[in-house]
Amino acid sequence: MIGLTHYLVVSALLFGIGTLGVLVRRNALVVFMCIELMLNAVNMSFIAFSRFRGGMDGHVVAFFVMAVAAAEAAVGLALILHLFRTRQSLNVDEANLMRH
Amino acid sequence: MNLENSSQFPWLTLVTLLPLLGALLLTAVPRVHEGLLKGLALGWSLIVFVVSLPIYFKFDPSNAGYQLTELHEWIPAIGVQYALGVDGISLWLVMLSTFLTPIILLGSWTSIETRVKEFLICFLLLETAMLGALVSLDLFLFYIFWELMLIPMYLLIGVWGGTNRIAATIKFFLMTAVGSLLMLVAMFYIYQRRDGAPSFLLQDYLTLSLTLTEQLYLFGAFALAFAIKVPMVPFHTWLPRAHTEAPTAGSVVLAGVLLKMGTYGFVRFAMPLFPDATLVATPYIAGLATVGIVYGALLALAQSDVKKLVAYSSVSHLGFVMLGLAAMSTQGVTGAMLQMLNHGISTGALFLLVGCIYERRHTRQIADFGGITQVMPWFAVMFLIVTMSSIGLPGTNGFVGEFLVLSGTFLADGPWDLRWYVAVAATGVILGAFYMLWMFQRVMFGPLKNEKNKKLTDLNLREWVVLTPLIVLIFVMGIKPQFIIDRMEPSIEAFRKVATTSRLPADDAEGRARIAEIRQRKTNAAEAK
């Protein structure tokens, strides 16, 4: 029988893979995709909790998260476009006008 | 002592805030009118001095408590109050500050050539801060003024100073601020240990009973802040650098008033707040003071720069003040108080004189001078008088202070025997005479070798006006110091009473045993005789 734990583990895996991507990849677009992956993992746990608790609040939350993700995507991609125009590279580490 | 708002005219607030008002006034004057700016600042500081005179006249010499007090709620939520007042100890320092300010302004009339407006504003701000720190009776208020003193002084050295001014001013600021932050934490600690309605009033803490361990830590925090300011060896390293880099005005105010804040802090706060810790720490304070006296004198001996020499002599002189305070005898403390005033006047005058010659020659190296008496006879006379005062020749103010400190410490009937310290400190007096006279001889006498020195002109009218009041005071205080001592004495007695009465809590057996053991020494010594 597939229970809540199974879904939570999948969600944790997706979340972890997303975190991994954010921390190791350097291409801004890919990093951003990984963040979307993390949001999906969050949605998955919301929906799973919702399903096994019998309520539907989690669904609404997931809906809002999608809306927020869309808003983030619009701004984020615009920023990526903007950066590429000024510098022609998306490597986050190459963004080196500022010293550490 | 019950503090209340004596319902008369708020003289202290007026005197404290007048310079600030003057500074605001100056901001409105365009910077091109330099003469107007200088005149205005000088006039204003004279007004402040005149306004401060009523404090002296209204002061009741027989009253040991705070006078002309003002008390207002300020931040009731945490018990901060606006409490001002003077007693016999702070009265003289207030007078000294208001007296020195116009003299300094006139003294640096020509030496400040750039950014005159900012200089004057800084200076008046500094005066407000100094006066505020001297008259505030609330720990919070005191801390505010205490820290506020740093900023104008920091700018005075950093903007108008010599070549290495930035390193010197940062060192000055950091060392003093570091000390005071620890003091702040200590203030919170006693605040938190006190029962009853929240209050930062100083007098509410003069009955606070703390265990010896607590007292020692807290005294350490307070003493560190003040010892850096005094400065006591080994916290003195900022002073010579600050003095050498500061403009004349900065040096004079530093030596004249700011350093007194350290010793004043000991008298007003550190010692009365933690009497038992003071008792335990007495040999250490006296020891550091003695080391300071001798070490400062020895270093002064080795200096080739006149100003640096005077700076190290300050370390030495303030050692006497601390020694007198450590003795805790009436004579010793009186001497220390007098020595504070003397040092303010004579060292201030010395720095002014050094400034005079620096303005003419743009050097302060002893080796560059020699035979100055031949071209500047009056200058030499003035210099001699001030040198004598600094050495402590009888008839000048320096003598009274040093003598009282040494004799008071020697004859002190406290539990600690400080006679050996006096013996060592006395060598400081001899060394002092030696380095001052040697310097005087090298600068003033001998052949007039250097071509540039031949064209030097003697004191001009402005310099006469600046120096004369100081010279007069040197003699007045040397010959007839009684009018000062009279006003001090009741407050000094009150201070001694508070600072020598043990306030350990009943359950601090360990601390009580330690104090008892120390007190026992005296009886033991008496019996041995």
Partner: protein, 558 residues
């Protein structure tokens, strides 16, 4: 199923609504207004909006003078003295950012209208963050604020650094949001609700649940997510780059507003929702105070030591902002020794909690003083913020020099400025509890203040004591002058006459755990509570007219 939307409830978020509306109007005005005239017109419009919102906020403050709170929208939001107090900080930040922006954008050749509307939208998000109790509303408000600030960071299109730092900020910010949401998901799983206040009774009723890994992980993720937002070490690495790259007015808005909003949320969620016992040391609690304690120390040192070698002022101020987050955490740790919603320990919690509010207010004005001055240096997308660029500025532009100096001294905690009093008050409240742990923490903070003095002073050295090495364009702007004058007055006033601000801060904290809020939280669905909410809302909002302040019980703080 209750309809949680009542028209009366809108009164409770009126300041946010006003700002939001003016944000929209400003965006429209930019489109329709005449191109040349639009700039000053739109900025003025935004300023007008902030003033109206400020007026509304004052009116609400007068109405809720008693220490109680009004739940709105079925408890998803709340209006209490706490949120109203923070609204003052947000409105100040927004207004000052608009004032600074006017001249800055002209100098850097950027549009005015969108700037205005983004600042207003961002401030709307901040206000709603401080008001929200439902984690979802909180999240959306957070995103509203964040997205506005991301865009503002990249607002000057000629600036390459702006583009870079905006993208960095965006990626880190979204990452943090995702982490925060994961925490919310776990807490939702544990309690079946996203309303943080409704979680409290559920958790209180079941200690096993409260100490379960599910809840603990949820709290951890929430803390980490918020830690990124308020630049808490070790989640602070993005701060210097972003602060340096963003336009100075935006950096100030970010440093002041975002940090205040983050801390408001931290206080509301971490202390009231989970209760102070969740934060308490030792066996009774879950050791979160220990974590915050450690974070406070790490954050202070990371900020102050990081600032020491910086040669760019904005980077330096970024590190300084990190260190201030550390000081603020002391307030949070200290307030954990009491419980705001427990009558017997509320006094212990109100004092330390109120230090955070006061500190943030003082920090807002000091920050704007410094960044306001800095924003004058630059042209066409290039900012001149190296230390050496400031050389001689103190005499070239005396007022700007004084403003920057006083701002820095206030940040350094030198009396008699607001920053000093805030720090003094913070240390005082922490020490007054008489706990040795807190004494140690305060000592560490004092040591940190000493370190900080050094790098603040260095800027003043350049302002007044060095000669300029290269020509730096410094423009004149009336807006900046006004902003600096206002911040200056506020900074000095907070230092010299802080009494009223202290009272307000204490009242705002006292309102966090007030009775009405708890009654509503216990039974959010009952009609009886709905009526009482309505009644309370009307009562509170009528306050100004009906002189409620006389009838209401005396504020707990006094």
């Amino acid at each position: 199923m209750n309809i949680a939307f009542q028209i009366e409830d809108l009164w409770g978020i009126l300041p946010a609504i006003v700002l939001c509306a003016f944000g929209g109007i400003a965006a429209l005005a930019e489109v329709f207004a005449d191109r040349s005239a639009s700039r000053s017109f739109v900025a003025g419009l935004g300023g007008f909006g902030v003033l109206i919102a400020l007026g509304v906020n004052c009116w609400q403050w007068a109405g809720i003078e008693g220490a109680f709170s009004v739940p709105l929208f079925g408890g998803a939001l709340v209006m209490d003295a706490f949120s109203t107090f923070f609204n003052f900080a947000f409105l100040a930040a927004a207004g000052l950012a608009l004032l600074l922006g006017a001249g800055y954008l002209r100098q850097h050749d950027a549009d005015q209208g969108e700037y205005t509307s983004l600042v207003l939208f961002g401030a709307t998000g901040m206000m709603l963050m401080a008001q929200s109790r439902d984690l979802i509303v909180f999240f959306i408000a957070l995103e509203l604020m964040s997205i506005a600030v991301y865009v503002l960071t990249a607002f000057v299109r000629k600036s390459r650094r702006g583009a870079e730092s905006a993208l960095k900020y965006f990626l880190i910010g979204s990452f943090a949001s995702a982490i925060l949401l994961y925490g919310a998901a776990l807490l939702y799983g544990a309690t079946g609700t996203t309303d943080a206040t409704a979680m409290r009774p559920i958790l209180d009723a079941d200690p096993a649940l409260k100490s379960s890994m599910l809840v603990q992980l949820g709290m951890l993720f929430l803390l980490v997510g918020l830690g990124f937002k308020v630049a808490m070490a070790p989640f602070h690495l993005w701060t210097p780059d972003v602060y340096e790259g963003a336009p100075s007015p935006v950096t100030a808005f970010m440093a002041a507003g975002v940090k205040a909003a983050g801390f408001a949320a931290l206080i509301r969620i971490f202390t009231v929702t989970f209760g102070y016992d969740a934060l308490e040391f030792g066996d009774s609690g879950n050791g979160w105070v220990g974590v915050l304690y450690g974070l406070a120390i790490v954050t202070m040192f990371a900020g102050n030591l990081g600032a020491l070698p910086q040669t760019n002022i904005k980077r330096m101020l970024a590190y300084s902002s990190i260190s201030h987050a550390g000081y603020l955490l002391i307030g949070l740790v200290a307030s954990a020794f009491g419980d705001l919603s427990n009558a017997s320990t509320i006094d212990q919690a109100v004092g330390p909690g109120s230090t955070i509010a006061l500190y943030l207010l003082a920090y807002t004005f000091s920050t704007f003083l410094v960044f306001g001055g800095l924003s004058l240096l630059g042209k066409d997308g290039e900012e001149y913020t190296n230390l050496s660029d400031l050389a001689g500025l103190g005499f070239k532009r005396p007022f700007v020099g004084v403003a920057i100096t006083l701002g820095l001294l206030s940040l350094a905690g030198i009396p008699p400025l607001g920053g000093f009093f805030a720090k003094f008050y913070l240390f005082r409240e922490a020490m007054t509890l008489g706990r040795p742990e807190l004494t140690i923490l305060v000592l560490i903070a004092a040591v940190n203040s000493m370190i900080a003095l050094y790098y603040y002073l260095r800027v003043i050295v350049f302002l007044y004591m060095k000669e300029p090495t290269r020509e730096v364009p410094v423009f004149e702007s009336r807006g900046v002058t006004v902003a600096l004058a206002l911040s200056l007055m506020a900074t000095v006033a907070l230092g010299v006459m802080p009494s009223r601000a202290v009272d307000m801060a204490r009242r705002s904290m006292a309102s966090l755990g007030s009775t009405e809020a708890r009654a509503a939280a216990r039974a959010p669905d009952s009609t009886q509570t709905a009526d009482s909410i309505k009644a309370a809302a009307v009562k509170a909002l009528d306050g100004a007219a009906t002189r409620l302040r006389k009838a209401a019980p005396a504020p707990a703080a006094e």
